[in-house]
C-alpha cells in the first residue's frame, strides 16, 4: 500500500528525510537491553508476544546456535560455561584492564591475548571479543523490534554510559555495525533519561540524573530550559553497579558456607550459581525486610539468612562511592545539592532501598522514579531517534565525560580538552621539540583526569614525521583535538611553520583493528547468507513434500485415470524429487518440483473433468462454483 499524499503548508518545504523509516532507540544495558520507538507523541517499549520488554543481556553459545535473553539465562543454570553475561563491562577494555577486575568477572578470559589487543573471552569452545557478544545481543533486540513493528529495523540511536571512554564508544559502534544496524547517534544514558522526563513531564530547571545500572554508574547534572537539554557536568564509574552488589553478597554467603561446609575453591560455573542466589536475595530484600536463600553446589545445600540491615552494611561502601562521585560532579557544575530541583532515578539498582535513602539525604528531596527506571533510557533514546529522523523541537547539548590530553616530557599528561566541555568541540594546543634537529614527534593521546599518563587511559599513539631541522624548542607543533557529537575523537597534528600535517581518527589502543573488524563483518555477512540459504532450502523441501503428498493421495484414489506408462512416468518423477530433496541444492529441488508438476498436469486435468461431471450430477448450481474452485486449488498443488 502506498502512503497517503503529504500536503505541506504553502512556503514550507517537506523535510528531505520525511519518508525515512522512523529510527528506534536501543538501551544496550549491562543486565538488560530494550528497544523502543517514538511514533506520535509518546515513546513506547517494543515487546514480544508475551508482553516482555526487557531482553536479558545474556548470550549462550551452544554448539549449533546462539541463544540470547531469557532462554540464555535459563541455560546458565545447566551450562554456566557456555554463557556470557554483563559483557558491557568489557567493552573497549584491554587484557590488562580486565586482569585487574578478573576476580569480579564470572567468565574466563582467554589466556593468550596479544599485548595491547582487545580482551577475548573463551566460552562454549569459541573465542569471542566483547564486540561480537554485544552484536549478538543487538541482533536479538533488533529482531524483537522487527517482529513488533512488522518491518526491517536498520537505524538506531544507541545509549552508552556517560563516562564511557573513546574505546568503549567505538566498540559499541562496531557492535552495531556487526549486527547490521547504523548507529545514528550514541547518546549518553542519563541524557536520554532526562529527555524522557523533560518531554513527558514537562520538567524545567536544574535536574540530576542518578543512573545506577547493572554494571555502571553515571551521574549527570542538566539544565532543562525551553526544550533544550543542556548537560552541565557528568561523571561516573565504569565498574560500579548491581553486579558489584551481587558480588559482595555472594562473598558473604560463600564465607558462611565455607565456615559451615569447609569448601574452598569454586569453579567459574559455581561462582555464577552463588551470584544468582545473591542477586535473588538483593532483589527480594527490596520488598522484604529479611529472608533466607539456599546455595546448592555439588549436591550440597547451605542456607543463608540476610536482613535489610545486614544488606545495607554490605553494600554501603559501594553506595558511598556513588555519592562521593555525585558530589564531585555537582562541584564540577558549580552547583550545590540544594540547587537541584529534582533527581531522576535510572537503572534497576536504584530500587535498592539504601540507594534511595542516600540520594534523598544528599539532595534533600524525594527522588523521581515515576517513569520505570528500567525503561526510561530506551524511551529517551527513541525520542532522540525520532528527533534525528523526523525532526523535533527538543535539542540535546552534551559534554565530554573525561579530559583528553597528550603525553608531554616526563610522562605527564597535558590536558587539551577538559572534561565537561560541550560537544562538538575542537581545541588546539602547541607543543615543541626538545632536541636539536628533531625530525619526528610521537603523539600519545590519553583520556582521564590524572596527572601521570600511566594512570590515564591510552587512546592512541601516532608519529608526526618530516619536521624540518631546527634547534630544540623552535618548531611549533599544533595538535588539534576534535570531538564529535557521539563523543568520538579525531586528532591531527601540524608543524605550523612548514605545514607538515598528519591526521588520525583515534583508533583505540584496545579497539579492534580495521582488519579484525572487516573480518568479522565478512563472517557475519557470510552467516547471514548461510542463514538465508538454509531458510530457502528448508522452504524448497517443504514445497517438495507438499506436492509429493498431494500426488501420492491422488494416485491412490484415481490411478484408474492413468495408463500404465503415464503412471510410471509420474512415479519416476516422484522418485527423482524424493532423491533431490535429500540433497542441499535448492535450485535442483525447485526444478524437480517443476518437473513433477509438468508430469502431473494431464492427470490433474482429467481429475478435474471427472470432478465437474460428477459434481454436475444432482448438485445445485450455486454449490458448483465452490466445488470447482476447490478442485482447481487442489489440482494446482
Amino acid at each position: 500500500m502506498s502512503p497517503p499524499l503529504q500536503i505541506h503548508e504553502p512556503g514550507q518545504t517537506p523535510l528531505p528525510h520525511a519518508r525515512r523509516d522512523l529510527a528506534v532507540g536501543i538501551d544496550l544495558g549491562t543486565t538488560n537491553s530494550l528497544i523502543a520507538i517514538a511514533e506520535g507523541a509518546r515513546p513506547v517499549v517494543l515487546r514480544d508476544k508475551a508482553g516482555r520488554g526487557l531482553v536479558p543481556s545474556v548470550v549462550a553459545y551452544m554448539e549449533d546456535r546462539v541463544v540470547v535473553g531469557d532462554e540464555a539465562r535459563r541455560i546458565m543454570v545447566e551450562h554456566p560455561d557456555r554463557v556470557v553475561a554483563s559483557v558491557k563491562r568489557l567493552m573497549g577494555r584491554g587484557a590488562e584492564d580486565v586482569l585487574r577486575v578478573a576476580g569480579q568477572l564470572p567468565y574466563e578470559v582467554a589466556a593468550a591475548v596479544e599485548s595491547g589487543g582487545m580482551v577475548r573471552l573463551r566460552v562454549g569452545g569459541r573465542t569471542l571479543t566483547p564486540v561480537e557478544v554485544s552484536a549478538d545481543i543487538l541482533r536479538a533486540v533488533k529482531a524483537r523490534g522487527e517482529a513488533a513493528l512488522g518491518r526491517k529495523v536498520t537505524e538506531a540511536v544507541i545509549t552508552v554510559p556517560a563516562h564511557f571512554d573513546d574505546a568503549a564508544r567505538t566498540a559499541t559502534k562496531d557492535a552495531a555495525k556487526l549486527a547490521g544496524l547504523t548507529a545514528l547517534r550514541l547518546v549518553n544514558e542519563p541524557t536520554a533519561a532526562a529527555l524522557a522526563y523533560g518531554l513527558d513531564k514537562g520538567a524545567e530547571g536544574l535536574y540530576a540524573v542518578f543512573d545506577l545500572g547493572g554494571g555502571t554508574f553515571d551521574i549527570s547534572v542538566l539544565r532543562l530550559q525551553m526544550g533544550v537539554f543542556q548537560v552541565l557536568a557528568t561523571g561516573g564509574d565504569p565498574l560500579l553497579g548491581g553486579d558489584d552488589f551481587d558480588q559482595v553478597i555472594a562473598e558473604h554467603f560463600l564465607a558462611e558456607r565455607a565456615r559451615e561446609l569447609g569448601e574452598a575453591h569454586l569453579t567459574t560455573g559455581e561462582a555464577k550459581m552463588a551470584l544468582m542466589s545473591a542477586r535473588l536475595a538483593k532483589e527480594e530484600l527490596t520488598t522484604l525486610t529479611s529472608g533466607e536463600w539456599p546455595i546448592v553446589l555439588g549436591g550440597r545445600t547451605s542456607h543463608h539468612r540476610l536482613d535489610r540491615a545486614k544488606l545495607n552494611d554490605l553494600v554501603r561502601p559501594l553506595v558511598d562511592r556513588a555519592i562521593a562521585i555525585t558530589q564531585g560532579v555537582l562541584s564540577d557544575a558549580r552547583m550545590d545539592p540544594e540547587d537541584v530541583k529534582g533527581v531522576v532515578l535510572v537503572g534497576g539498582s536504584t530500587r535498592v532501598p539504601l540507594v534511595r535513602d542516600m540520594v534523598r539525604e544528599l539532595f534533600g528531596t524525594e527522588p523521581l522514579s515515576d517513569i520505570d527506571p528500567d525503561e526510561v533510557v530506551a524511551l529517551g533514546a527513541a525520542l532522540q531517534a525520532a528527533a534525528l529522523t523526523q525532526g523535533s523541537s527538543a535539542l540535546l547539548l552534551d559534554v565530554t565525560p573525561l579530559s583528553l590530553g597528550i603525553e608531554t616530557m616526563g610522562g605527564l599528561c597535558e590536558k587539551v580538552v577538559p572534561r565537561n566541555t560541550p560537544i562538538p568541540t575542537a581545541r588546539a594546543q602547541e607543543f615543541t621539540t626538545y632536541q636539536d634537529g628533531q625530525s619526528a614527534m610521537m603523539i600519545h593521546v590519553v583520556q582521564g583526569e590524572r596527572e601521570l599518563v600511566t594512570e590515564n587511559r591510552s587512546l592512541a599513539r601516532f608519529e608526526l614525521h618530516g619536521i624540518p631541522a631546527m634547534v630544540a624548542g623552535a618548531a611549533r607543533i599544533r595538535v588539534l583535538f576534535a570531538v564529535d557529537v557521539d563523543g568520538l575523537l579525531t586528532v591531527s597534528a601540524e608543524e605550523t611553520g612548514t605545514g607538515v600535517r598528519q591526521e588520525v581518527a583515534v583508533k583505540p589502543t584496545y579497539g579492534l583493528s580495521g582488519d579484525e573488524m572487516a573480518g568479522m563483518l565478512r563472517a557475519s555477512m557470510e552467516h547471514a547468507r548461510e542463514d538465508m540459504e538454509a531458510r530457502l532450502l528448508a522452504e524448497a523441501r517443504v514445497d517438495a513434500d507438499r506436492i509429493l503428498i498431494a500426488v501420492d493421495a491422488a494416485l491412490r484414489i484415481d490411478a484408474a485415470l492413468l495408463s500404465r506408462t503415464e503412471r510410471t512416468a509420474i512415479e519416476n518423477q516422484m522418485q527423482a524429487l524424493r532423491a533431490t530433496a535429500q540433497g542441499h541444492d535448492r535450485h535442483r529441488i525447485a526444478d524437480a518440483v517443476e518437473a513433477l508438476n509438468g508430469a502431473t498436469e494431464e492427470f490433474a486435468g482429467r481429475r478435474m473433468d471427472r470432478e465437474i461431471r460428477s459434481a454436475l450430477r444432482g448438485v445445485a448450481v450455486s454449490a458448483l462454483e465452490d466445488r470447482v474452485g476447490a478442485g482447481a486449488a487442489e489440482a494446482k498443488k
Binding site: 562521593a324 528527533a387 535539542l395 560541550p422
Partner: protein, 173 residues
C-alpha cells in the same frame, strides 16, 4: 567570538541574552538537525556548532571573556611568572588559603566562600569599569586577581561538599 553569537564587543554581558542566542544558534545549526542532509551541510553544521560552543564558553566566563578582550586589544593577559612577582596578589592568595585551611565546619567554610564570592563580584565590577575606561593595564591585573579568586572558590566548594558528605570523598576512579 563576540561576532559568532552577535554580542557587542564589551566586557559587560547580558547573561540571559547570551543564553538566548546560544540556544537559538544551536537549535538551527547543531549536527542533530542535519542527520539526513548532504555531507557538505553536515560539515558546516559541525564546524559552526563547534564555534558556537567555543564562543559560549569564552563569553560565559568573566575570566575567559576578559582574556579574550585583552588579546583583541593586543595586550595578552599576564602569565603565571608575572603573578608570582606581584606581591599584592600573592599575599592575598596566601591569606585566603590560610583561612580555608583553618575552617573546619561547614559554617566556617561557608563564611570563607561568601567572602571570596563577594571579592570576585567586586573584582568583576572593577573589570567592567577598567574595560569601559580602556585602562588595559588595570584590566590585566584585575583579570589575574579574578583568575585566582575563581580557582579558590572552586577549591573551597570542593572542601565544602566533602565536609557535608561527612566522608573523605575518594578519587573519582
Amino acid at each position: 567570538m563576540f561576532a559568532i553569537l552577535g554580542m557587542p564587543v564589551q566586557f559587560e554581558v547580558d547573561a540571559a541574552e547570551l543564553e538566548r542566542r546560544y540556544f537559538a544558534e544551536q537549535r538551527r545549526f547543531h549536527p542533530d538537525r542535519f542527520t539526513g542532509k548532504p555531507e557538505r551541510e553536515r560539515q558546516f553544521s559541525m564546524q559552526h556548532s563547534t564555534n558556537v560552543n567555543e564562543a559560549y564558553r569564552v563569553l560565559g566566563d568573566p575570566v575567559r571573556r576578559a582574556e579574550h578582550l585583552l588579546l583583541l586589544a593586543g595586550q595578552p593577559a599576564r602569565t603565571v611568572e608575572e603573578t608570582v612577582r606581584d606581591p599584592v596578589i600573592l599575599m592575598r592568595a596566601l591569606e585566603m588559603r590560610e583561612a580555608l585551611a583553618e575552617a573546619q565546619s561547614r559554617a566556617e567554610i561557608d563564611g570563607v566562600l561568601k567572602a571570596a564570592k563577594g571579592e570576585a563580584l567586586a573584582c568583576t565590577a572593577e573589570l567592567t569599569k577598567a574595560f569601559a575606561n580602556a585602562d588595559l593595564q588595570c584590566a590585566r591585573t584585575l583579570t589575574l586577581q579574578l583568575t585566582y579568586l575563581q580557582k579558590f572558590i572552586e577549591e573551597a566548594r570542593e572542601r565544602r561538599t566533602r565536609v557535608v558528605g561527612g566522608q573523605s570523598a575518594g578519587a573519582h576512579s
